[in-house]
Amino acid sequence: MKYNQGQKVIDEMIEIIHNAVQGDTARHLSLDEDKGELKDLANGINLLIQELHVQSKQKYVQKKSFYINVLEQLPIGVAVLNKQLKYIYSNPAYFNENELRLDALGLSDLDLHKVGRISRTQAYTRYAQVKGVRNTGNASSLEEVIAEKENKNRCFVRTVMPLSRKWPAKADYYLIYVIDITTYHNKTKELHEDNVHIEQTKEELDKFLHHVTHDLKAPLASIEGLINLSAHAHNHTEIQENLEMMRRNVRQMEEFIKTIMNYSRNAMADISLKRIDFEEELHNVIQLLRFGENAHRIHFNVDVQLKVDFYSDPTRLYIIFNNLISNAIRYHNYDQENPFIHIIVRGGETEASIKVMDNGKGIAQEHHSKIFKSFERISEDSKGSGLGLYLVKQVVQKLKGNISFVSFPNKGTSFEVKIPNAKLYYKLQAN
């Protein structure tokens, strides 16, 4: 073997060993005859390189399985798209179910829509997102809401970022990761709803307070005015007249405070159940109200028919009866032969219906929507607080019942209250 040839073989060996150390174990030395006495050495080097090759391949497989393992267990959905925007990898969290995951490989989001896997909106939103990333080279995130059964939504933040082997070249792949924010989303929504509710309650409370202070001040101001007049009164009759008016104002205030107290009692006090004797309860209410001006002319008719015993909260029922009947008396039409108020109660296992019907003045259609609102007085002759029917509605709601009415001007009004029979609860309480 000539020197030059030997030098060439050695150079070749050095190059291949160098490459192998750098990680390229694919090349081997040729074992031609021309290597002469160096053939054995070349053979030895080839064996070494082969050994290196096997070892590095094992390491690679180990490393790969380590990373795959991490990705597979990650609770965050991860997927990779190729340049054609088709899935080439996804971890279980991405598609939730293994089978779906595997047969999605090679498909794009638009394909997934075609096979009915995702909705059209979802497919096109995702497609637009990835295309945006492809055009700008910047990562982008968006919220994805997926409707599930029973009206429940799941909510995700989906981020797409470009991946390239040689930075800053154009992307070769797109990495997607998806984080489930449903719990966070629901909490935020609940918090928002709570806030709106608090804001409304605060507004209602402010309005309520404004009206209450005003309605308490009005009769007080009149009393003050009457005192001023009495201080300069010329005779006893004048003073008597002023005192009578003061008394009217005091009664008005008392009535108002009673309503407010009933309102707060209804809101605060627990429901206390008793068997209701409708005839007796109604009789008591009518007895107290019948002495009012004109009321004695009204013909009352009470008709109670219960199939089973009825249980409810007597204090709250009293508020309902008292307000409905006193309204019927106050706004009755006394320019007629036979002013009447019929009270009809029908009760069964589940609920009782209480109807209070009159042939009084009635309520104009335009006022029907205001009837149950607080501080709405729809009659020019109203001497009330504008809280009566509002209170009734609150009480009925507290008893889990409902209230409705039918009314025609100059014909009359019929209120109907339906209250559930709390018989079962009563029995449970008693045990």
């Binding site: 404004h210 202070t213 005003h214 309605d215 001040k217 009005a218 007080l220 101001a221 009149s222 003050e224 005015g225 009457l226 001023n228 007049l229 300069h232 008016m245 009217r248 104002n249 007085r377 729809i378 009659s379 020019e380 109203s382 504008g386």
Partner: protein
Amino acid sequence: MDDLKNDGKLKNIILIDDDEIVHFIFGRVATSYNNGINTLCFKSARQALQHLQTNVAQVDLILLDINMPVMNGWEFLKNYQELKFSYPVYILSSSADSSDLQKSTTFDSVKGYFTKPITLQNFETLEKQFEKHGLQS
């Protein structure tokens, strides 16, 4: 002075308030201020508007309550200004609430705000402002 006051221009006052006791107090205070004052009281804003529209009324000024059923003081003022009435209006309310006071200034026809009960001093103020107003116009 008393003679001058009796010859003042303030003669005809309208009160709009749903509370009859307020009518009574107003009438008494007005009479004791000046026996020659004519007062006209309405129980509802609707009745007052009807009266103003159908009668060529002798009106120097209007006292108006805010909190009334069906048509309240603010609704009255809206209608009143739309109908182009120009008699000066003074609020007479039991509310000393600043938000009500503020709201009253948004109506051009409102010239003042009194809290109940109405007093002799209120009448003196009304008279002074009425005379001033009369001189200006």
